[in-house]
């Protein structure tokens, strides 16, 4: 942690070398992904430090979603995809981990909140039941614990049997985050989780993520630079499927090394 926070923005190779001491929850080596033979990610090498928030930023269409989907292998559900390179969870290659286990350990929250059309309670017990937990007491505990983690328990504890679709967008997204946590992941991936939400909900979700950091490793895609600044420990900048620059957030935002990064950040600020 410390080493990362103190690192100035530096070139990619140097950064990887310097932060080698920090424990990485996930690592990616020479990751290339193509859809129907059209290369979308090109030889990405990076890592995601444990109990940190890593932001992935870049212009739309640069491959941010593709990157996230690769990390828990959801990318395989798309027809005509080819993935090369290796992804490590801890020190194990993800293709050597059973898909179900990988997806449990690396949770994903989508851009638009997609709670199942059931009650909140049923949403949060859906996956635990699937994995064989039918103990009522245990399920009650999971629901309470995960809702509390996303700061929603006190807010909706009397409405647990209400349909999840009846809540506001921000609440729905937090229900989805809580649902992702019910399978006890180590890593939480979020794909522009705030892009459909109002300002107030955004700040609640940001607070939630900062709180979750102590227990989970968080990787978030965002198109909102201010949000990346507020949240991130580490930032990865992608463009046209290539990793242009990465580094600790403070350094990279203050003093980007690459011209393309500077241009991107300037463009956003207008």
């Amino acid at each position: 942690m410390e080493t990362i926070m103190n690192t100035e923005s530096i070139g990619t190779e140097e950064y990887v070398a310097r932060s080698a001491g920090t424990e990485a929850a996930m690592r990616v080596r020479e990751l290339s992904v193509s859809y129907d033979n059209k290369e979308t990610l090109h030889k990405i090498t990076t890592e995601f430090p444990k109990h940190c928030i890593t932001s992935i930023i870049g212009p739309s269409g640069c491959g941010k979603t593709t990157m996230l989907l690769s990390l828990n292998d959801l990318i395989r559900e798309i027809q005509g995809v080819k993935v090369e390179g290796e992804i490590l969870l801890g020190d194990k290659r993800t293709d050597a981990i059973p898909q179900e286990e990988l997806r449990r350990r690396v949770g994903l929250v989508f851009q638009t909140p997609m709670p199942f059309p059931f009650s909140v309670y049923k949403n949060l017990t859906y996956a635990p039941r699937y994995y064989g937990n039918h103990n009522k007491k245990d399920l009650d505990r999971i629901v309470k614990e995960k809702l509390a983690l996303v700061g929603l328990y006190d807010e909706i504890k009397t409405d647990l049997n209400k349909s999840a679709l009846k809540f506001s967008g921000g609440q729905q997204q937090r229900i989805c985050i809580a649902r992702a946590l019910t399978v006890e992941p180590d890593i939480l991936l979020l794909d522009e989780p705030c892009s459909a939400l109002d300002v107030r909900s955004i700040s609640v979700i940001e607070e939630t993520l900062l709180r979750l950091k102590s227990q989970y490793t968080i990787i978030i895609v965002t198109h909102n630079i201010a949000q990346a600044r507020r949240l991130s420990d580490k930032v990865i900048f992608l463009k046209d499927g290539r990793l242009i620059e990465e580094g600790d957030a403070a350094g990279l935002f203050r003093e980007p090394k690459e011209a393309e990064t500077r241009e991107f950040l300037r463009g956003i600020y207008g």
Partner: protein, 288 residues
């Protein structure tokens, strides 16, 4: 200028809506008016709940107008057809929406739509040459029967059911399958516990429209159901309300009780449809 165009446009729309409603009202009023004289000669109870249909006075017996068997046959054959069609239809829709690739879907959809456009007399012809002949081979006397009509009707309902069910299933799959995947949940588990339940409402709506079509379908059913005034049994002959009307309207003497009774039968068909629609709607709203 803008405002004037807007107003003109609005007026045109109002007129068109008015014409539609007027046409509908006219049809209903006309049928009711033509149907009512029946009940000068026959009581409503006798008309609905007895099963002797002898429209022309015979020697030593008066004419009788009881359409109970026709009502029973109409409901029986429609629900049987619906049962067959919905099982196969949901299966096919599940395949199209959740198993087939985009390419297969692209090839199959136009075929399904094409099937929906085939005229019912052609289906009836196929029913006669294929289904009836098959029943004959299996040993059903003359081959025409209620089950043959139900199977034929089911085939006719399938294209519509498949395309509307697969449309909602596809929509719900796109919404929920990835969420299930992201939790590591098996695709078929998500399909059966989330996607299908979320689709029930629209599937029931599709069933309402299909049952309307089934109950009103005349030609194809008439060709294979046998047209005998009998209480419907699977392998026996029977006759639907629509078939009676189509077969007898041409020969009924204008203004006779027979003539009016056929209108009354039509009215019963409309009311029956209305009751079933309301019933399914109530189930739908209660269930979901």
């Amino acid at each position: 200028m803008r405002r004037i165009t807007n107003i003109i446009f609005k007026i045109i729309l109002c007129i068109l809506t008015g014409v539609t409603l007027a046409a509908l009202a006219f049809v209903i009023i006309f049928i009711v008016k033509e149907a009512l004289p029946t009940f000068n000669d026959v009581s409503v109870h006798e008309f609905l709940f007895t099963n002797e249909w002898m429209p022309v006075e015979g020697i030593g017996s008066g004419a009788r107008f009881g359409i109970f068997n026709f009502i029973a046959a109409t409901v029986y054959v429609s629900f049987l057809a619906m049962l067959i069609a919905i099982v196969i239809g949901i299966g096919a829709a599940l395949y199209l929406s959740c198993v087939a690739t985009d390419r297969i879907r692209g090839i199959m959809y136009p075929f399904v739509d094409l099937l929906a456009g085939i005229p019912s007399v052609v289906y009836g012809f196929i029913g006669l040459t294929v289904i009836v002949r098959l029943f004959l081979k299996v040993g059903v006397h003359t081959g025409v029967c209620v089950l043959a009509a139900a199977i034929l009707l089911a085939i006719m309902l399938l294209p519509y059911l498949i395309s509307s069910c697969s449309e909602t299933l596809l929509k719900n799959k796109e919404a929920y399958l990835r969420a299930g995947n992201a939790l590591g949940v098996d695709a078929w588990y998500t399909i059966s516990t989330v996607i299908l339940p979320a689709s029930w409402k629209n599937i029931l709506t599709a069933m309402i429209l299909a049952i309307g079509r089934a109950m009103g379908e005349t030609m194809a059913v008439m060709m294979v159901i046998g047209n005998a005034n009998l209480f419907p049994t699977l392998l026996g002959k029977s006759e639907s309300i629509a078939a009676v009307i189509a077969l007898e309207m041409g020969t009924a003497v204008n203004g006779s009780t027979h003539f009016h009774a056929l209108y009354a039968a039509g009215l019963v068909l409309i009311v029956l449809l209305f009751i079933i629609n309301v019933g399914i709607n109530m189930i739908r709203n209660k269930l979901l």
